[in-house]
Structures are given as structure tokens and as C-alpha cells.
């Protein structure tokens, strides 16, 4: 989607604020938001691409005015409601101060709840998005490509600034799940991901430095031969 999250190349978003000796979390609620998001993810009801899409659906004015873990919280709440792990009314009642215990979740979901003992394995043996599938690559290192000029209304990882542009295949990373379908229907549609090298002048015009390049990781479905 052409959302405000896709901000590469935008102007006017303010100075970069670098904090000396920055703590990992700035408030207790950030710790809790981080941890419940990870823990709920391990229930296996949604994948990482769906989580990203859920955050992208935050209304743009709200997205720009809120902090990082507020984006996470927005996404988490949306996913919990969409998968019916929580009901919207339940959340509103609890926000209103109702402390009556909530009904237990389905046994199948409870059985998947992450325990403290599970955490190291869950984090360190994480499998990632690489797929052991024998999918032929459409391009080889050194090939000239042009990215597709597409504007899907749903999730995509092809940033706007890199659409319809000529680049060169710099490296073939292998076969990965395709986020555009994985986020919408959990269809992995495995395909090659490449590091594509773009000259800044191709992206930003003749005033860009000739010694500035941008490398973007892109899937076969985003690319055509140049």
C-alpha cells in the first residue's frame, strides 16, 4: 500500500535526534508492549508479514504522531481482534476498569502459549523466511533489470522510490517467502530475493552524486528484464 510508512525520500520529517547512552526501553509500557507482541506472535496465528501490514494500516496522521511501540501496539490489537483471540468489547470493558476475569482461550491456543523455558529456543532457533524450495531464479548477478511500476493497495516491500527504475542484480540471496502474498493470505509463493543496486541518479535525478548507490532487496515478482 502507498502508506506513510513507505517514507524513503520524503522531506520535512524533522531532524534526526540522537540520544546519548540510550536505554533499550524508555518506559515500562514499552517493555510490556514489546514482550506481549513477541509472545503473542509465537501463538502462530499470524506471520511477520501480517504483523508489518497490521502496523501499516494505522491511519497516517496517527502513525506520524505516535512512537514506535505505539505502532506495534496498534498492530497487535488489530491482529488479536482479527483472529478473535480477543474481542473488541472485551478490550473496551477492560479499559473501562472491568476486572472480571476473561473467559479462557481455546485449548489449542493455550497449548501454544510461550513459556519462560521456551524463550531461548524460540529466539535462537528462529527459522526466518528462507525457504528450502527448488525455485529457479529469473535473473543472474550482473543482469540489468527494471522494477515494476506497481501500486498494490495491500502489503508490499517494493518501496515507492524504487518503482519503475533501472538497476543491476548485485547478489542472489536465495529463495524466500514473498511478503505480498504471505501478508494477505499466508501464501508463501517462494521466489528468489536479490540485492539490486541502483545508481542514486536513477532514483533521484541528475543532481544526485555519481558516487552514491542504493541497494534494495527485491523479489522476482517485482522485477522485469531492462
Amino acid at each position: 500500500m502507498n502508506g506513510v510508512h513507505d517514507m524513503g525520500g520524503m522531506h520535512g520529517l524533522g531532524p534526526i535526534v540522537h540520544e546519548t547512552d540510550e536505554p533499550v526501553f524508555h518506559a515500562e509500557w514499552e517493555r510490556r508492549a514489546f514482550a506481549i507482541t513477541l509472545a503473542a506472535g509465537f501463538l502462530g496465528r499470524w506471520n511477520l508479514d501480517q504483523s508489518r501490514y497490521a502496523r501499516e494500516l494505522m491511519p497516517p496522521a496517527e502513525y506520524l504522531a505516535s512512537t514506535y511501540y505505539e505502532h506495534w501496539l496498534h498492530g497487535l490489537e488489530r491482529q488479536l481482534v482479527d483472529t478473535r483471540l480477543l474481542a473488541r468489547e472485551e478490550i473496551e470493558r477492560r479499559l473501562g476498569g472491568d476486572r472480571a476475569p476473561a473467559a479462557p482461550a481455546a485449548e489449542a491456543d493455550r497449548a501454544r502459549a510461550l513459556t519462560a523455558a521456551d524463550v531461548p529456543r524460540a529466539l535462537y532457533k528462529s527459522k526466518g523466511a528462507r525457504v528450502a524450495a527448488d525455485v529457479p531464479p529469473r535473473f543472474r548477478v550482473g543482469d540489468e533489470i527494471r522494477t515494476r511500476n506497481i501500486h498494490p493497495s495491500a502489503h508490499t516491500r517494493l518501496p515507492r522510490y524504487a518503482r519503475g527504475r533501472r538497476g543491476m542484480i548485485h547478489r542472489d540471496h536465495g529463495v524466500f517467502v514473498f511478503p505480498d502474498t504471505h501478508a494477505m493470505s499466508q501464501d508463501p509463493k517462494p521466489q528468489h530475493v536479490y540485492s539490486v543496486r541502483f545508481a542514486a541518479r536513477e532514483l533521484w535525478g541528475p543532481e544526485a552524486s555519481p558516487r552514491h548507490f542504493v541497494h534494495v532487496d527485491l523479489w522476482d515478482d517485482y522485477l522485469d528484464p531492462a
Partner: protein
């Protein structure tokens, strides 16, 4: 770039904000329903607050500076090479290390969200996740680097890596001059988080300011 930051500390006795109430509501409901175990939350938080952070990446960089064979493995297959030192897992399942040299400077961004190599650098700092950095890094990297106090000549090639897929990028900064006699631990102490994102150089011991 300024050094102050408008985060929201929780003052004891002050009323809870909307976001604090919302986190509390979600957490308490998830625990009630048996979907989240509070003990697991504590372990998750402790892992990224005290165990996984930029010291991991600094150890990898120091090893690469002192061991040419290791450096070669690191640049060829970073995921396997960092696993030799015990670093692996979530948000670092597939890693790539980029070598900075006097003529090529690499820097890393995620314009679409906040992708970052957790096993080597921990959770990203606020500026990395913020709109100003995400918007400017790909368009005006020299300007961004100047804001960080790094003025690279026009003769240096800048490569910006936008982490749009599940590859996680770490910069291998240049080893500063005058560090020939240092041990691996002493070298690791020089390596900053920002140098491994590619927005700073590693400074020689005398003038090293940690970021």
C-alpha cells in the same frame, strides 16, 4: 541533530496515559486467557535488555580485524561466521556483513519499518526507527552522515542498504590506526553500535567517544 529526546518517563503517582492503560488491558486479558505467560514476558525483556546488544557485534568486528581468515568467512557467509561466536536467531536468521574501506562507505536503513540485526546489535535505537532517518538515509546519505559528525569526501562511494527483505545488514567498520598492539577485548571496546550501522567511524582509543 540534537541530543535531547522527548520520551515519556513514568512519574510515580501520575495518572496513567492512554497507551499505558491499553498495554495493561491487553496484557491482563492475554494472561487471563492463558495466551501469554508473565514469566515468559520477563525472560523476553531481560534477553534484549541485558544479554543481546551491540557488544555481540563488537566482538565479531574485533575478531575480524585480528583474524584475516575469520574476516574472509564473515564477508562470504556472515550467518555462519557469527554463529561460530554463538550469535544467531530472531531478526538475524540471514545476515550480511558489509566492509567499509577508505573508498567505500556502507550504511544501513530500513525505510519501510525498522529491520535491524538483533542478534548482533540488539534492539534498534529510536533514531534508527524514526521518520527523519528512514526518510533521509536513501536520498541524502552524505547529509545524514554530516549530522552524525562524519564528513566523507565526494571521492568516497556511499552505498546505502535498504533492509526491505529478511536479510539483516551489519557494517564492518575500518580498523582505526594505532591499534596494532590491542587485544581482541580492547578492540571490541572501541567498536560502537553506530559504526556497525554505518553512521560513524571507529575512533582511535585516545579520542574514542562511545555511541
Amino acid at each position: 541533530m540534537s541530543d535531547d529526546h522527548d520520551h515519556h518517563p513514568e512519574e510515580p503517582g501520575s495518572p496513567l496515559t492512554d497507551v499505558q492503560l491499553r498495554v495493561r488491558a491487553l496484557e491482563s486479558l492475554l494472561v487471563d486467557k492463558g495466551l501469554v505467560d508473565p514469566a515468559a514476558l520477563d525472560v523476553l525483556i531481560d534477553t534484549y535488555e541485558t544479554k543481546v546488544g551491540p557488544r555481540n557485534g563488537a566482538r565479531v568486528v574485533a575478531r575480524a580485524w585480528g583474524d584475516p581468515a575469520y574476516k574472509q568467512r564473515l564477508l562470504a557467509d556472515a550467518t555462519a561466521a557469527v554463529a561460530e561466536l554463538g550469535y544467531m536467531g530472531r531478526q538475524g536468521e540471514d545476515m550480511v556483513v558489509l566492509e567499509n574501506t577508505p573508498t567505500v562507505h556502507n550504511m544501513v536503513v530500513c525505510t519501510l519499518c525498522s529491520c535491524y540485526p538483533w542478534p548482533l546489535l540488539g534492539l534498534p535505537p529510536v533514531w534508527y526507527k524514526s521518520s527523519p532517518y528512514r526518510s533521509r538515509a536513501v536520498l541524502d546519505p552524505r547529509g545524514v552522515l554530516r549530522d552524525f559528525g562524519l564528513d566523507l569526501g565526494e571521492d568516497v562511494e556511499i552505498r546505502v542498504w535498504d533492509s526491505t527483505a529478511e536479510l539483516r545488514y551489519v557494517v564492518l567498520p575500518e580498523r582505526p590506526p594505532g591499534t596494532g598492539g590491542l587485544s581482541e577485548d580492547e578492540l571490541a571496546d572501541l567498536v560502537t553500535r553506530d559504526s556497525m550501522i554505518g553512521v560513524a567511524k571507529v575512533e582511535a582509543p585516545a579520542q574514542g567517544a562511545r555511541r
